[in-house]
Amino acid sequence: MDFRFTPEQEAFREEFVSWLEKNLPEGWDPSRYRNYESFDEWARAYKDFQKRLSDGGYAAMHYPHEVGGQGKTLMEEVIVLQTLASACMELRTPGIITHGMAVPTIFHCGNEDQKREFLPKIFDGTHIWCQGFSEPNAGSDVANVSTRAVKEGDHYILNGQKVWTSFAHVSDYCIILVRTDPHVKKHKGLSYLLLDMKLPGVEVRPVTQITGEAEFNEVYMEDVRVPVEMLVGQEGQGWMIAITTLMFERVLGDATMAAAYDKNIALLIDMARQTKRSGRPIIEDPIFRQQLAQAYIDVMVLKYHGLRNLSSQLQGGTPGPEGSIGKLLWSEPNQRITEDALGMQGPTSQIMSGSPWSIQDGFWQYGFLRSKGNTIEAGSSEIQRNIIGERVLGLPKDISRAARQE
């Protein structure tokens, strides 16, 4: 067993860290949790920075040259992503779905034309992608998707509605799950399309969320004509491709989240030193010290679990249902950590960003609220536990679900 980078990997990491120091956007302030007022500005900043990464030779490390990648291994990609997560997560956020879901889906399930057309423009920052799975009646029950795609000549005609579509309002394309055959069992009638968000009939309406921002959207489709070349795989394979996509989202995610949270722990320690409760620094209180240590433990467990999982991927495994562990290990601890951080602040925890009494620019206030979505997005905790229970431990489906899926 060896938990270290090789000397070559370590040299690459150092090289990238020093490149990054010189290439962060001008005026970008790492002490602020949010540098951009609008989502348009934020998306622009992401695209510009992705272009810079690409020009520097650091985009899509583990993808082949033919599709715009660097032809290296997953390790180099992990090193880049970890470094970015701890240095400038904000600049990556608008591209999370793009890189975590759209890229692996197109690469592993798309045809050669689709790969050559779409991947290079993702890697060089030209395009942001969103993901259209959820619908008002297809939340955890994703297979209940009812957005219809009817084939007419060389087009699919789309009608329906998606919801909770992150970054749809700044996206150029969407990976979308649609129903092409309403007459077969529900999983079997789904297909996977690549949707150009600029097509006539696509309407995006932002949904204001608990943080007061609108990261999510409703996406309405009315007689949207999608060329048949935009079908991924075959008709009826949508469910299988979607499941694969969801698992890919998790592998790099775990390794990256730990790096992002490492930075949060450093902030938490800083806060505990500088903020007083009843006249003494938080860091001197034995109960808060326990919470601080538990936060550190949670993140360290996530980190080494993520590395162990990654290592097994590197040995040739494909992402499996075990990935659900990682999802639970980052989402639930993040809620505990942000809750504890607010608990440490006492009454001041109510003050958001923008006051002389704000602590750390309201980082933890935003984090606390945003973390409430962590156990819902990308498959709720309940769905993760179903996946582990049924697909890893081999426990039976409950009678009602088993009967429906016969």
Partner: protein, 380 residues
Amino acid sequence: MDIKFNEDQIEIARQARRFCENESPMDYVRDMFEDERGFKDDIWTKMVEMGWTAICIPEAYGGLEMELLDLAVVLEEMGRAVIPGPFFSTVLLAAEAIKEAGSDAQKEQYLAGIAAGEIKGTLALYEPDGGADPGYIQMDASTDGDGFTLNGTKLFVPDAHVADFLVCAARTEAGNDPAQGITLFIVDPKTEGISVSLLPTMDGTRKLCAVEFKGTKVSQEGILGEPNNGWASLKRVLQRAQVGLCAESVGGAQRAMEIATEYAKIRIQFDQPIGAFQAIKHRCAQMFVEVESARSILYYAAWAQDHEDAKAAEIAASVAKSHCSDVYRNTSASCLQVLGGTGFSWEHDIHLYIKRAKANEVALGDPVYHREQVAQLIAG
């Protein structure tokens, strides 16, 4: 980066699994739970023949000179089988203390003896008011220039009743820094002035003793390591032993998860296996999440002992001890809930796991202690 067992470790784990199934079935565990001595010599001899007592002992003293991770592979399987007996006390406490602080002559005598399976030892550390912090050592050791006289009581000394020697931590100098002034002694428990008594503890598979010292004489040759500086050595010994306990805990938690999952598949209520109900399914899934997360941090902490710098290794040991303790306690308790009334019975094995989980949780620093250690190490 390569985070998986190598061929040797896979083989060690396979052999250990087979050994535990054949030589230490639950009938044996239950017999030893009730037995005062707590193990049978022929099982001990077979463990020695497997090479287990020699894994981390240097080749120069007849050992295999392997890494803590290799030993953790065996300990995980032993924990899975809640194996009784003085393996942990001898191999992870006594041998590590001698290895860390012993003179050549002491190593020749004790390490070679342990590797060959001829002697057993333990560590006398905790005291009645010690709390969670094993650094709190007050037992008096005074000198008249020729050797020392020990007076005081040691508690929770594992397997002292069957040990051939004790490594005992005592205070030889008082001062402001409690970590200073501690000296380690090697003591024969048959020495005049020592009385050993078994404590009626919850976990009968890990015997704990009270050891009372009344004017016990120890010669100069009995001093282990540098006088007054015993804590520096002990600290490293304890870290390795903490990681060893984590391995046992992960193995035990793994078994508890399996017991719960197997039962959830066959127990029918409301016309279906109870594992079909999300109330049960999610409980089992949570056990799996916790066990796998504990295993990940265990492997890192064990590897770190032999490959990372001192501070990183110390942090990893405390993080792992806190997490694995919590996980074993939660998982074994959760298993009982899945088993329902059956799990509450003496007849079902899960109580043995719940009791070992509790013993491992509080041994060598409980989670509260280790979280405070982590806080000190990361934030001062």
